[in-house]
Each structure stands twice: as C-alpha cells, then as structure tokens.
Symmetry: C2
C-alpha cells in the first residue's frame, strides 16, 4: 500500500480551508472547514470516556442518519465539560455553517480542541465561520495546520487505489500530542474519500480501522474527553456503494491511512524523542496481543528505559505480566531494537554497547513472541522524557 505522508492528495468533490480567526493569539491558524459538494455517507468513532465534550454529543446526534456534508473544527478552545451552554454553542456553529451552505444542520459535524473549561468565544467563532466559508478551496495543508494544539507537526496521509476500474482516493488529517495535553484536549482525525460506501458499511470499516490504528496508540494512557474520528465517503468517484472485494480493498486502504496518522500522532507525543512500535506475535487472539502491547506501551518504566537507551527486559516482562492476559513467562521471547534480550525465563547474553547504540535510533521496535497462539498485534507509543514532565507541569496561567 503506497501511503503518501506530508502532503495530501484531495479526493474528488471536496474542498477544504484553514485560517486564523483569533481564538489563538499571534494569528496562528485556528479554524478549519471541510465540505463535500454532495451529501456523503458519514461515520464516527468517539472517546469512551464518560466525561464527553459537547461536540461529541452533537456529532453522535448528527450521525444518526449516516449522512453528513461538512466538518467544522476550531482549535484553541475544546468546548469541553461545559454543560448546556457548550451544547448550545456547538449547535449554533452547525447552524451557521448549514445556513451558508444551504444544507441541513444535521449534516454538519462540529469539533473543538484546545483549552478546557472555558466557553467558546462565540463572536470570534462566528466571524471565523464566515471567513472559512469564503475561503473554501484546496486548503488541505492549511486545514491540517489549523487543527493543531501542542502538536509540533501536522499529520497528513492519503492513498489512491483502483477499485473496479475507478480511481479512489482516501485522505486524512489528525491532531493529538498528549492524549490530553496541558489544559488542551483531544485526538481528532478526519478522513474523506470519493469512494461510495453505504453508511452501515462505512461505520463497520471505520470501527475496524480505528481498532487497529488509533486504539493501538498511547502517549500517556490518558483518554481524552474529546477524541473523535470522522469519515465521509461522497462517491464522487462513482464507484457506487462498494461491496465484496472492492469493499475489502477499500477497508485495507482506509486502515493504512489511519495507521499512518496514528503513528504520526505517537511520534509527535508530548516531549517524545522516539516512536516505539510494539509487535506482539504468537498470542491467542489479536485482542489479547493488543492488551499485552498496550500494557507495555503504557508502562512509565518501559518508556523511560527507551528514553535512557536501556535494554531492560525486566520492565517489559513486568508490564506484560500485569496486563491480565494469561501466558507462560518461561516461553516468552523478547527483542528490543532487533536484539534478543529475553528467552527461556531469563535474560540473554548480548552486547550491551551495541544494544545501547541501537536504542539511540529514532524508531525503536520491541518484539514480543508469547508463543501461545498465532495472532499478531501492533501498538505504538513514544518515550517518556524530561520534556513530557516540563510540558505538563507548567502552570495553567
């Protein structure tokens, strides 16, 4: 699968824009709009935190009919945990966008990310919505910058495949650095495609892709109140609703775009110096392997060890052991940066200097073979550094 990162290829029948409207200081881009030129199948996956921001509640409502046409996003303010007024503000945003585009408000999906506990500055947002409506065009790069908070780089991925003789493009952007950053919230991801997919199939496709991408990423184990992944499929490529093999191929491509974005999020984790990929093979099920992988990925001791270039199998074994998955520690094989470090219930002899050197790379893989099945899972995280503490220990003022 050829995945384009860095820049996006726009699918047919969509326009995008991103600009600064004044929610953030210093003319930093803070509002984005993505519009399909026709109603599109739409699906969403949201945080399972029981504390949920107003836009998440609204989007669930608006996705009930499986159709949407516009995604409006602001950064700089998360509209989170704010009760009725937050809901009213989110609804008002949808109305403004809908009115200008002459579409139903239910076809507008609303997203906010940034400071929590402060109401949206609605006058600023209103003038921003007026301006993004005027600016719609090929502004994918601007849009993916406008959704950033503590991100240090925009996250973009797209791919183009042939399905039944038609050229189909899938393009996505994401933001997220801490699962929730210093008074900022949210991992957001927006994917658009010109393929035709029924709303029901699209929901299934997205849920499966999310499970193998964003649900396999952890920066600090803190699940945000705003996490949102949205996908639109407008059939501008005239595939008609995909079925069978065509749908399968679409699903593979959608998952690949989501995995690319998820890895970009992990690599840009707060304070991170390294992307850590944890591959668990030989597990009884994909879920079991993912649980073991996430337990290792969430271990502060493993993450600091990778930061410190320490080939510390003890911390990895320990985190595997409390994952709640049954396996025999004496059968497990663990490698770090390609170097086998644990097998047969004991640490292996290895060249320590060589291991420290290998752990100096920016991409570190931890390979775990549970030797109790044939399923495979991959999860992504980053190292835990002084900068993570610095970023998150700074005063809110």
């Amino acid at each position: 699968m050829d995945i384009q990162e860095g820049t996006l290829t726009s699918p047919q029948g969509y326009r995008a824009v991103g600009l600064s409207c004044g929610i953030k200081a210093d003319s930093v881009k803070d509002i984005a709009l993505i519009v399909s030129d026709r109603p599109a199948s739409a699906a969403g996956v949201f945080t399972t935190n029981i504390v949920q921001a107003a836009p998440v509640h609204l989007n669930r409502e608006h996705l009930a009919n499986g159709t949407a046409q516009a995604i409006i996003v602001n950064s700089g303010n998360a509209n989170a945990c704010t009760g009725e007024k937050g809901m009213a503000n989110a609804r008002h945003e949808a109305s403004l966008v809908a009115e200008s585009l002459s579409i139903p408000p239910e076809d507008v999906l609303v997203n906010s990310t940034g400071v929590i506990g402060v109401q949206l500055p609605m006058e600023t947002v209103e003038s921003g919505i007026a301006r993004v409506l005027d600016g719609l065009g090929d502004g994918w790069d601007d849009a993916s910058e406008a959704i950033m908070t503590t991100d240090t780089v925009p996250k973009r991925a797209s791919t183009t495949i042939e399905i039944d003789g038609k050229t189909v493009t899938i393009a996505g952007m994401a933001k997220g650095s801490g699962m929730i950053a210093p008074n900022m919230a949210t991992m957001l991801c927006f994917v658009v495609t010109d393929a035709g997919v029924s709303p029901t199939d699209l929901k299934t496709s997205l849920t499966s892709a999310a499970q193998r991408s964003f649900n396999c990423v952890t920066v600090d184990g803190d699940m945000s109140t705003n996490d949102t992944i949205l996908v639109l499929a407008n059939d501008a490529a005239e595939t008609g609703p995909l079925i069978g093999d065509g749908l399968d191929r679409f699903n593979v491509a959608l998952e690949a775009v989501c995995v690319s974005l998820a890895k970009q999020v992990a690599r840009d984790g707060e304070g991170a110096t390294k992307l850590i990929t944890i591959r668990v093979v030989g597990s009884p099920s994909e879920d079991a392997g993912r649980t073991v992988g996430l337990s290792v990925a969430n271990s502060s001791l493993v993450k600091t060890a990778v930061f410190g270039r320490d080939p510390n199998w003890g911390r990895i074994l320990c985190a595997m052991g409390y994952a709640g998955v049954d396996f025999n520690p004496d059968n497990v094989i663990v490698s770090m940066a390609g170097i086998p470090i644990f097998a047969d219930g004991a640490g292996l002899e290895f060249d320590h200097d060589k291991a420290v050197e290998a752990l100096g790379e920016k991409d570190i893989t931890i390979d775990i073979d549970l030797r109790s099945g044939s399923a495979e899972s991959i999860v992504y995280t980053c190292d835990l550094t002084y900068d993570y503490v610095r970023i998150n220990a700074e005063y809110t003022t």
Copy 2:
C-alpha cells in the same frame, strides 16, 4: 489510633537484625532477619502479576500450613524471573536459616529485592546468613534499613493497644519506591505482632488491611513481580486466639500500621516531592471509589499537574471519566488542597494565586465527591517529576 513512625516498638518474643554482607557495594546494609522465639501464625499477600519471582512461589508454599517463625530478606538482588536455579537458591536460604534455628524449613519465609535477572551470589548470601544468625537482637532499625533499595528513608510503624487486659504491639517495616525501580523490584512489608490470632483469621485480617493500604498506593502504576506483605502473630502477649471485639480491635490496629507504611512508601516514591492523598466520597461502593481514586492517582497528567502546582480540574475529571465507574460528571464536586475547583459540570471561580500557593505544600489532598452513594475510599500517590524520569532513564550499566 496512636501510630508510632520513625522508630519501632518491638512486640514481645521477636528478635531482629540487619547488616551488610557484601551483596551491595560500600558496606551498605543488605541482609535482614526477623525471628519469633516460638512458632507464629503467619499469612501473606503477594503480587498478582503472573510473572513472579522465586521467593514469592516459595513463600506461598511455606505459608500453606499457616505457621512460620523466621523471615530472611536480602536487598541488592531480587532473585526474580530466574527459573529453577532461583527456586533452588531460595530453598537453600530457607534451609540454612532453619538448620541454625532448629526449625522446619517450611517455617522460614524468604524475600529478595534489588537487581533482577542476575542469580543470587550464594556464597555471599551464605556468609551473610551465618552472620545475621549471630547478630539477632533488638536490631529493628538496622533490619528496616537493610531491606531498602532506591528508598531514601526507612519506613517503620508500630502501635500498642490493650485487648482484654493484655498489652498487644504490632510493628511493621516496608520498602518500596518505584513499584519497580531501575532494575530493582519490589514492595516488601513485614509486620509482626505478639497478639494471638488464628492463621485463618490472620489471613483475613491481612487481606483486608492490604486492600485499604498497599492496594491503595501507586507510584507509577507498575506492579512488581516480587510484591510481598507478610505478617507473623506469635501470641507472646498471651491473648490466646483473638475473637469478636478483640479481633476487631486488632484488625483496626493492623490496618492503621499498614496504612502508615503505605503512605510512607508513596511519599518516598521515586523522584517524588509530594504525597498526594485522594479521598473519594459519595461513591456507590468502596471498590468503585477506590477504582476512581486509583485512576486519578495513576494519571501522569494529574501527577505532573500537582508537581507543577496546577489546580487542573480537567485532568482530574478526565481520569475519573475513564476509570470504568458509572457516575454523572455534572454532579461531581472536586477540591484540590482544600479549594473547590469543579462543581455543577464546570470549573469554579477561585483565587488562582492562592491555589498555586496551597499546592506548594508537601501534602496535597484531592477531594472528590461523586454524589452517587455513601461509600468512602482513600488512595495515596506522589507527584511525577523530572527526577522520576532521571532515576528511571539512567543506563543499567
């Protein structure tokens, strides 16, 4: 309950000793022995990690008959994850102690903490065992120092109460700084009492006390492979097996000693500058409240916020929300350092400077009222600091 911390009052009929035998460098104390002058009721609570060190397996075996008389401990080497040879070494330690004391090997409990993945230096351990057997006496302070690894202070607590006209003393020591420290493992706790308690009741008493003390403490969420709490009750106070009100009063005192030691462990967490006490009231059950409290206590974002003196209710609410306990976020009240910061689904107005000042104290309380029941729970943790990263990111070499 009058709890003595810092020094221990020895219960009747026990001797203790701690000294340096050369497992650690620089003549740092590294071996300890506690002996009851008669067979005592004995109970243990151990890590639920499926990766367990050899001494944990051995102690389960030796506690099967509910009786023990000696506790041998070394620091500097955890005898962890080392298969059959680790088991053989632990058994050999028990035999050496048993032979010298003329007691059955099954009455000796063996504990190790320190570097993992390296076999015990048995010659050194053997000479150490010979020397501690000679040194038995009133060496409680030395013993509690000899079990330390990355701890910066020894943890000691004792209390004396009257039961049925008899004076009963309960004394305990603990070690632990990270749940597992840099290549070190283990939280260990040893409690001895001269009360009489049947083995069955003692197991129930200890399990309950552990649930409200050590199971309510987290430093970094990493559960060690060696965690062990042992209690001996030798009836030197001649209470006979306690029942009814006497047993209830013993249980309260045992829990208080364990809570004191658990708080001392949290306060001395790796890199910690603050003890954080999280009180959850108004929950549907004690377990539900503990789950919510531990979710907050394990949040890296909450722990860095406390380090940074940041009255950040958003991170607290967020961590509560993914605890897996059902509550209504709009009903919750949250205070930090005595200052109400969240109620009615929104942040409250408060004097930010005053809050930052209050968060400068060494003891920080987070009060959470779920307003959905009447149960209360308390958990303990510490802040997450640069020093935690430093301590855990250093090379193993």
